[in-house]
């Protein structure tokens, strides 16, 4: 009788299933972390973007000046601010976001799909804007 019950239990049991995979948990945590990081990056990037927009406005309303000439003027007057916001901040943001994308790419098994781009598009945008700021600063 007991043996029959045991056999019945065994047939009902089926395969053992793990509903919450650790790897899945790590991936979701790293995506949330990447979104948090990209928000912080965006706040830090907003400062040089604001300065560039102000310099652009200045070059529009002051005849004979360009964005690059205004940038050089700012660089000579405010050496520390321009170094921090136009060189150090974009460089750090590029490194952080590249590492974040690399981590998500690695954890998700190296996909070449649209879903991956959808998860990291904000980080890619931040890298692009940071690169643009570095280019403007280096001109």
């Amino acid at each position: 009788m007991e043996t029959q019950n045991f056999e019945k239990k065994l047939t009902e049991m089926g395969k053992p299933e793990i509903h919450n995979l650790k790897h899945e948990d790590m991936l979701s945590r790293s995506i949330i972390n990447a979104k948090d990081k990209s928000v912080v990056s965006w706040w830090w990037l907003s400062v040089p973007v604001f300065i560039i927009l102000m310099l652009l406005m200045k070059s529009t309303f002051m005849p004979g000046t360009t964005l690059i000439s205004n940038m050089h003027e700012l660089e000579s007057k405010q050496k520390f601010i321009s170094l921090v916001f136009f060189l150090i901040t974009p460089l750090i943001l590029i490194i952080i976001n590249v590492l974040t994308i690399r981590r998500i790419h690695f954890l998700s098994g190296g996909p070449k799909s649209f879903n991956f781009l959808e998860a990291v598009w904000f980080n890619i945008l931040i890298i692009a804007v940071s690169a643009l700021i570095l280019i403007i600063y280096s001109l």
């Binding site: 948090d36 604001f50 300065i51």
Partner: protein, 76 residues
């Protein structure tokens, strides 16, 4: 200390603990102080606004960095 102090909604970090509210209020207090300080030294409304927005962005950047660090749930 009980973490997290903040939770993220969109591009803003909202306080989730008393320590978070203290940091937010300190940020607001510093923004008001800097507005009064900038207004005393500036020559026009646009001069005040431009410098104040710049200051607000710096306060926001520092606040978001603090919020990011303190909003992470410690690993068990």
């Amino acid at each position: 200390m009980n973490f997290p102090w903040f939770k993220r909604i969109g591009i803003f970090f909202i306080p989730a603990a008393i320590a978070g509210w203290i940091i937010l209020l300190a940020g607001f207090a510093f923004a008001i102080y800097s507005f009064i300080d900038i207004d005393n030294r500036s020559h026009s409304v646009s001069d005040t606004m431009m410098n104040f927005v710049f200051m607000c962005l710096i306060i926001g950047a520092v606040y978001s960095l603090i919020a990011y660090v303190t909003s992470r749930v410690p690993k068990k």
